[in-house]
Symmetry: D2
Subunit: 350 residues, 4 copies
């Protein structure tokens, strides 16, 4: 017996190349979990696939199902599923660790030497329903609204950057006000940053940054170079752009002993003036790759309990599955926050 | 009344250009301290001045007195000197903090916004005696031999890098086996590194590295790329070379979640693959600039009490002042450890 | 030439025993600073002296001038004062470090081995004007209202406890809602605590705790014992009571791996079940004594810039000097937040 | 089909009460692992059971099999065993975590809310062979001699205390020179302690402490009270005795800002002078319960690779199973280091 579903596919190489196809899913076997998707969000990775940049062309081979951020309700489970049951609300931790390597033994499962990425396994979640292995799922606690479940995974990236930076009482600069930057603003406020400055090229996004509570927003080149002493410089810079020029400029306004954290994935190597910034000014540079398993999930859950309503405002647009083209166009335009599919919705919603 | 002394001068621009000159020093006034130099060592900065590279040509204007690392005994003090008295053994903390700026208030006096460098003030210590302001001096505790005093300042750089890296139980790679690298090997052993690998281009220095207790030594390009899993990779890399190629190569052998620390001052910007190393593998990159004031001094004192004899072996050559040319040639050749002047010595000592 | 002033004195041993006396102050000599007091607040130590408990009877010998928390404007300075000038707004850092001992060298000046306490030096500040040595003063930045200066020192204790506990995203229990507890609530909110519970025996103070933003308030014995799993227990407990029973009870609701911080000074030893709490549940126990010099001052300044208005609400009552008896009675009653003298005020203000 | 074995039993309540009994083990089913014991060591818990103190009388009900520290070779495995195979060398991690609770999600599996203790499950390992569940086992890497496997678990307690204390460059006092104290001495040396003082009441054990590399040994009351300044006091105290008097005495010689770590399980509450030690001197007090899973195992493995021979000297006596009474008597006497059973040995070996 099979279950009918529709999936958004990357059908062919090149910009765009998406399509909606009917797929017959098998009934859950082994550790399969069948999930009714409530909402599924477009990630930066999905946009790379949409635009088919060099990285995407290397990593993927069309046709394949796209989408890995979602929230949904469990409909049915295979006989090998033990910790999840029908009715549970679930979302995906898209990084799957082996549990046995040196990194896993160090409790660094998020940098597992044998890490598998849900997004590369071809299951897809711009669909309804979808069938995925239990290993990728996290149960969403009942006191968190299901509509927030799809943002838990990307929110986790920002929460982790903010939590590791120890922003309490600090002056913080967030480069980029896309979804990861906006989540970072919210997390930085929640974790007690004393002053938050956010940048972007898009006026629309700067407006969002302001709504999320940034104390000051603007084009980065206008903001920089104003601080004269350590007291007025930033204690922390979080980059969500991967843009070399913006980062190098920001380093000038980061105080000696400050911390630069990358929550981005730059597409090419950076020229960094090690002597000037890392040695003479003792700036520490680090990065976050995904969420700490499962400390970050705990932090995300708490944050959504306390500030779910505020955080949900990062989702600015919702689409039905049939409007996949409009949804991707909008997400790529910079004129949106987080863009979400709600498969139950039939028509374009603004 | 004046006091006769001799000083090594950088007399003119260009490679070499050193000379020994007689100088009449005034009797100590204000916060002046008159010091009989027991020994004074050649630093990497002194070699830049000797070779007159671009950086030196910008920073200095000949003629000026050279030398800032020394140990000596106080002969006389000015009326404004309170914490130091004749007979005290002293050495120089070459970084002089203002005590009032934001960095100083953060107890980061080593990155003071108004930092003055003893080496730029033109006092000089390749001489006997010398006259310097009290603010640059540290009293050497009586249980540390005076002959070790001149290495306390550079040893402090290595000790700090090692101490901040938390090497206990760690596998550590030290790039470069000049004096800073050799001190780092000794400090890493003292602080409990589980396994120490050291590199250099000079066979002579690799021999010293081995004598100092490195578990494995070699040319960096021969050593790299052998580790297959995080377990066998390094937890920590300390760079003392400023060499981009060596650092980039070493990053491949640093485990995810590892730490790269610069105890060097690279002369040009580095290409760093932020995505690969800092984000995906979550390597933390930081640098040390001088000693923490005065935590590092306390650590240096303890280390010299416990392991002074071993550490003194980093000093491989001692010269009289008149042999300044031979001393600098040797220090620049890579065929030495630390090179030291002992002004009381009249002739070349091997 | 002398300057007339009035001071509140502890005139004789026993409960109360205060009086207001005229004192002729000398014109500033050496490092003296003459200060017009804007406001001066009653500290827990002052209450111990007022009540003349065993500790106070050991530490002090009447008659002496009382009071050490204040904010004021500099009127005149002695010839040896360099960093402060007439017109500056100042307050006192009541812990005076020697700058030379092992603790000072470790940048732990707040636990200096030769620490002097301003409160024991007999200068007094429930007065107008007062004359104090430059060493105890901190200049209040111009962007902080002078009326807030008197609370910077006690606020620093709470800020430090909260900052060291790393409360970002944490569930936190604050035992006691007197001034230190109230400041801790405000600091915990500012530094991003996810959930704050505050206790006290006084309904009045619980009302203040609620106004300061505690999520839940109550008598500690009613609140405790409700959490069943680590998830619902506290991550951090900050004690401001010194009450053994309250602390021991709270330990039961502190999760494994949690942190108990004392911002109190218990008057007698505690029975602690080391096996149950510190070993089996790995709770870390630490304390804060005063402010980190000067990191905590920087944090306090930032907090007052951002949230000065909220924080000023901890000051609930203001008195003229002549009403010293009413002020102390009220402060001792538990029916107040911070009680402040404003010497310029002539009559009781409610 | 069944397998014949012998086990040391606690046969009846009261002091002693041990006996050797033949047991027929089933062939491995499910996740069972059948292990030929190479060596098995007597733990402090075993001594509590032997002496039948109040704690043991509460926790256990005779008759039951005793012993939980061992090293051995896998003979056979049940069909549900996946990560272990015949021939593997194994030892036990005696703390079994659920993997799902809040503590486990925080990567604090060692304080799991549903922690099961191997020692309470009644399997026993003073025997040959034994049959245990896979969940308790750790594979011993081939480059660690099998004879060292039985000490990995207790060594882990000491390694963790030392590693968490950050002993590099520190002066450290270890209270008690039983096996945990001796392992702590070795670990403290390996991790770079600058100076190690060890105490015990037994001259025999002080002799062992000296052999393990303590710089100074003695009865604690003779050693204490000598340090006059922070410089000469201890930075770290590790308690392995659970003795209130020794700990309180040691606190006097721990510097301000120092760290007291319990690697013991005191049998009754302690009187701690919170004001004097934890607040005014800002001593941090914490404890370690077992090993971090699996970070500590990684550290133990490295330590045994580097210093296995030295560490094996903590095992001072080896017995055959039949000599259980002599072995326990000796272990309880304080006249031994670690006491080990080697079941293959038939007669008493000194």
């Amino acid at each position: 017996m099979s279950i009918e579903s529709r999936f958004v596919f990357k059908e062919k190489p090149g910009h765009g190349g998406l399509g909606l196809q009917c797929v017959a899913l098998r009934a859950p076997e082994g550790s399969d979990v069948l999930i009714k998707i409530h909402s599924a969000s477009i990630c930066g990775t999905d946009l790379h696939i949409y635009k088919w940049n060099a990285w995407a062309a290397c990593a993927y081979q069309p046709p394949f199902r796209i989408g890995h951020e979602f929230g949904g309700a469990v409909v049915d489970v295979g006989p090998g599923v033990h910790a999840i049951k029908p009715g549970d609300h679930v979302t995906a931790e898209t990084h799957i660790a082996c549990g046995h390597c040196h990194q896993c033994r160090l409790n660094r499962r998020h940098t597992c030497e044998n890490l598998q990425l849900f997004s590369r396994l071809g299951f897809g979640c711009f669909s309804d329903p979808t069938l995925v292995p239990e290993a990728v799922l996290r149960v969403v606690p009942p006191d968190i609204p299901l509509e927030l479940a799809t943002i838990m995974e990307p929110l986790g990236v920002s929460v982790r950057a903010v939590a590791e930076a120890r922003v309490g009482g600090a002056r913080i600069l967030i480069l980029g006000s896309g979804p990861i930057g906006l989540f970072a603003i919210l997390a930085a406020r929640a974790y007690g940053a004393a002053h938050i400055v956010a940048t972007d090229l898009s006026q629309y996004r700067l407006g969002l940054a302001q709504r999320m509570g940034a104390d000051q927003v603007g084009n980065s080149s206008l903001l920089m170079g104003l601080a004269r002493s350590s007291r007025d410089k930033f204690d922390i810079v979080i980059d969500t752009t991967g843009n070399e020029e913006a980062v190098v400029e920001a380093l000038e306004d980061l105080r000696s002993g400050g911390h630069l954290i990358f929550a981005s994935l730059p597409s090419h190597p950076f020229h960094l003036d090690v002597a000037r910034h890392i040695v003479l000014r003792e700036i520490c540079v680090s990065g976050v790759y995904g969420r700490r398993l499962d400390e970050t999930w705990i932090e995300v859950e708490r944050l959504l309990r306390n500030r779910g309503a505020e955080i949900s405002a990062v989702v600015t647009h919702r689409f039905g599955l049939a409007d996949f083209a409009a949804a991707f166009d909008l997400a790529a335009s910079g004129q949106s926050g987080k863009v979400v599919f709600e498969p139950a919705v039939k028509r374009l919603v603004d």
